[in-house]
């Protein structure tokens, strides 16, 4: 194995990725700032779209380079282990990203809302928000409670949602969909390891369909929330935590489903062998991670 670790000579991929990501971020910044300032002549969205397209293009070329190198036999067992470490810790970093939002949810529910309602150690804050009561989901915001009990309307008046999303409807269906998709992707993996191409194709296909159906239902739930339940990003901290957690999760489901779709196409092209298919394995790890996050969401955002 000595001297066999492949170090690419030079590469234009990273600098392209940097420029693309910077254009995307500049576009996003311009877009958001102009949106907030009411500037209708903004070209931020165009810049963002160009940047995003460039990012996707670079990703395409980068991954295809890695795949071609692998097919050319340049990736030693040791190099492949680097990819394994890389993917594993990338997923861990994603876990920590979600941990920030879960942490915010727990903090709000355990500390800030009870304190604002006059309970607990720092309950004295309630004197600023007379009439506010501790409920979760937070239907009546402190600003609303203050307005109702004293007639004072604060500058940042925030209205709570009209209704809560019951966990037993779409969320339960979505839980079943996503949990079974974790099983199907495992079946696909078993099929691949046993050299059963058909099983791989079918089970992976099923996983992808389950994933996209999940995203569809999630979209329907959002439409419902906005049009009928009065639950929006702007309806107090319940809406904020709800949409940020489910939104980022939904985004990750989309990314995972796209990854699996590409793996499905790669499988059809015969890229994977029973003992050599880390691309697929990495995508399936990601999928299981997305699934575990959903279980946390279902428990703490919807049920409890």
């Amino acid at each position: 194995m000595a001297g066999s670790y492949y170090v690419p000579e030079q590469s234009s991929l990273p600098i392209a990725a940097t420029i693309a990501a910077s254009i995307m971020m500049l576009g996003a910044g311009t877009w958001v700032v102009d949106l907030n300032a009411g500037n209708v002549y903004s070209n931020g969205s165009t810049i963002f779209a160009v940047g995003l397209a460039a990012v996707l293009a670079v990703m395409w070329f980068w991954f295809s380079t890695v795949i071609k190198e692998h097919q050319a036999g340049m990736n030693s067992a040791q190099l492949q282990k680097s990819y394994v470490w890389g993917m594993g810790w990338f997923i861990f970093s994603e876990v920590m990203f979600f941990a920030a939002f879960f942490g915010a949810l727990f903090y709000v529910r355990t500390f800030s809302v009870p304190w604002l309602a006059g309970e607990g150690d720092k309950g004295v804050t309630n004197m600023l928000w007379t009439g506010f009561e501790n409920t979760w989901p937070l239907m009546q915001t402190p600003a609303q409670a203050l307005a109702e009990s004293t007639g004072v309307i604060t500058a940042d008046h925030v209205k709570g949602p009209d209704q809560v999303i019951p966990w037993s409807g779409l969320p339960l269906i979505n839980t079943l969909l996503l949990l079974s998709s974790s099983v199907t992707v495992h079946f696909a993996h078993v099929g691949l390891k046993n050299g059963n191409d058909k099983a791989m194709t079918r089970w992976l296909g099923a996983t992808i369909i389950l994933g996209f159906v999940f995203v569809g239902f999630q979209a329907e739930e959002y439409v419902l929330a906005y049009t009928q339940l009065g639950l929006t990003l702007e309806s107090g901290v319940y809406g904020a935590t709800f949409f940020m957690l489910t939104g980022f999760h939904g985004l990750h489901v989309c990314i995972g489903a796209i990854m699996l779709s590409i793996m499905w196409l790669r499988h059809r092209r015969g890229h994977f062998k029973p003992h050599d298919h880390f691309g697929f394995e990495a995508a399936s790890w990601y999928w299981h991670f997305v699934d575990v996050v959903w279980v946390g969401l279902f428990l703490f955002v919807y049920i409890l």
Binding site: A2, G3, S4, Y5, V7, E9, Q10, S11, S12, L13, I15, A17, T18, S22, M25, G29, V33, N36, A37, W62, T65, E69, A72, M74, L79, K81, S82, W85, G86, W89, F90, F92, S93, V95, M96, F97, F98, A99, A100, F101, G103, A104, V108, S112, W115, L116, D121, K122, T141, P142, D156, H157, V158, T232, L233, E234, G236, V237, Y238, A240
Partner: protein, 526 residues
């Protein structure tokens, strides 16, 4: 893809010619050097901002800048020094040194490595450009507490957030790369407990980075939503809480502090044994102490928030947990001192910086212990005492360690010895300038001078004047270091493979300068 097929010939290539070498490179030494130069440039930019602050504070009253601009200077100074100077310098050293210390051909993921670097200049260009935007640049302190950074922030805050996201991507990718390198690329025979201390300290630092940078990404995303999309994470009117910002920020922020000091511990653990001509005292206790500090860093964050109004139980828990950190840190200081005990010491520039590190970092550690006492912190909080404390751990801590590392490994990097007298001059002027700047801040802080305010009471005038003089002396002194680096790159006495008599480690088995591709065949470690 023909360019990537020749996997057997590349070992014999030198670097490519021309400017594109630096843009397209996948070589860990090129990338490490770029990190170091970038960090040095940012050090001067952030230093210039610090001198604007010190100019304004030279005398009481407002004379140099508007208070709004003063706020932008304190904010930008902090952000640039933390994310632009100290962190990239350590990552640069990691890039340059870890592969040669563990006997690897390069970093585990070389292209990702290049990406991690090049994201930085772009993100800092965005961050610095915010100074010229409508409403001014970031002015909410480097800790960007809500609601200063949300409700009352200038519009440029959105660009600040996206710039921070890019920096975060760079840090996460960089640290994943380091973890993969250390676990996967060690030469045969190099077990974990045979790894050099610098490698150990970076392994632990990488874990901290992978764990907390995503949390930073989370908190700035919440800011983005609060500012632009009407959420109420940090707004009590909607049931949120500005204190939530501080909790999430410091959950990132406190490990971040250790991200900036653990690699320094590693560096000093190389240099003191080399110039005391003894092996490091208590190697395994060093490893365990570093791990303990890293673990504790996750459960002490609210000691930054003693006065914000947290429950008494919280104050007590975070006070005691914070004090616990003194134990593993004490182990390390003890080990460094014991390494020197009865050693045959010489005092070349790296050793001078390393000894100054031990002494002055310990002063910063002790003032940290004072700040950890919750009831006392109510007096110290947000005063210049805090400024003195963290500058004592960051300037003679992190930055002196970086200087020490540069002097120590510069012969290996350039193949030439630096001019020793110039190095010593740099050290002594830095040492005096730094203490002149920050030591008086202890006194004015204890006397009650608040930080981040452009004007102050007459009673603080003398010490502030001393601090400003010291700051300019320290700042100008750094040009000497620039001269040292340039002179050493261009020539000087040729360095031997083992540039220091007491140096130990695989990097000294390579010729100086180290060949472009270091260990194409892994060495055997016994």
């Amino acid at each position: 893809m023909s360019a990537v097929i020749d996997n057997h010939t590349h070992d014999h290539h030198g670097p490519k010619k021309g400017f594109m070498r630096w843009i397209l490179t996948t070589n860990h030494k090129d990338i490490g050097a770029m990190y170091l130069w970038f960090s040095f440039a940012m050090f001067f930019v952030g230093g210039a901002f610090a001198l604007v602050i010190r100019s304004e504070l030279f005398q009481p009253g407002l004379q140099m800048v508007e208070p709004e601009f003063f706020n932008q200077m304190t904010t930008m100074h902090g952000l640039i020094m933390v994310f632009g100077a100290v962190m990239p310098a350590f990552v640069g050293l990691a890039n340059w040194l870890i592969p040669v210390m563990i006997g690897a051909p390069d970093m585990a993921l070389p292209r990702l490595n290049n990406w991690s670097f090049w994201l930085l200049p772009f993100s800092f260009a965005i961050l610095l450009s915010s100074l010229f935007m409508e409403g001014g640049g970031a002015n909410y302190g480097w800790t960007f507490y809500a609601p200063l950074s949300t409700t009352y922030a200038p519009p440029s805050v959105t660009f600040f957030i996206f710039a921070m996201h890019l920096m975060g991507v760079s840090s996460i990718m960089g640290s994943i790369n380091i973890i993969a390198t250390i676990f996967n690329m060690r030469a045969p025979g190099m077990t974990l407990m045979k790894m050099p201390m610098f490698v150990w300290s970076w392994l632990i630092t990488s874990y901290l980075l992978v764990a907390v940078i995503p949390v930073l990404a989370g908190v700035i995303t919440m800011m983005l939503m609060d500012i632009n999309f009407g959420t109420s994470f940090f707004d009590a009117a909607g049931g949120g809480d500005p204190v939530l910002f501080q909790h999430v920020f410091w959950f990132f922020g406190h490990p971040e502090v250790y991200i900036m000091i653990l690699p320094a511990f590693g560096i000093v653990s190389h240099i003191i044994p080399a110039f005391a001509r003894k092996t490091l005292f208590g190697y395994s206790s060093m490893v365990y102490a570093t791990s303990s500090i890293a673990f504790l860093s996750f459960i002490v964050w609210a000691h930054h928030m003693f006065t914000v109004g947290i429950p008494l139980v919280g104050e007590l828990f975070f006070m005691y947990a914070t004090m616990l950190i003194a134990v593993p840190t004490g182990v390390k200081v003890f080990n460094w001192v014991t390494t020197m005990f009865r050693g045959s010491m010489t005092f070349e520039t790296p050793m001078l910086f390393a000894i100054a590190f031990v002494v002055l970092f310990t002063i910063g550690g002790f003032s940290g212990l004072m700040l950890a006492v919750a009831p006392a912190d109510f007096q110290y909080h947000d005063t210049y005492f805090v400024v003195a404390h963290f500058h004592y751990v960051l300037v003679p801590g992190a930055i002196f360690a970086i200087f020490a590392a540069m002097y120590y490994w510069l012969p290996k990097m350039t193949g030439n010895m630096y001019p020793e007298w110039l190095g010593k001059l740099h050290f002594w002027l830095s040492f005096v300038g730094m203490n002149l700047t920050f030591f008086p801040m202890h006194f004015i802080g204890l006397a009650g001078m608040p930080r981040r305010i452009p004007d102050y009471n007459m009673q603080f005038a003398d010490f502030n004047m001393v601090a400003s003089v010291g700051a300019f002396a320290f700042g100008i002194t750094q040009l000497i270091f620039l001269a040292v680096v340039v002179i050493t790159i261009r020539g000087g006495k040729k360095a031997e493979a083992k540039s220091w008599e007491g140096a130990d480690g695989l990097e000294w088995s390579l010729p100086s300068p180290a060949p472009y591709h270091s260990f194409s065949t892994p060495p055997e470690v016994k």
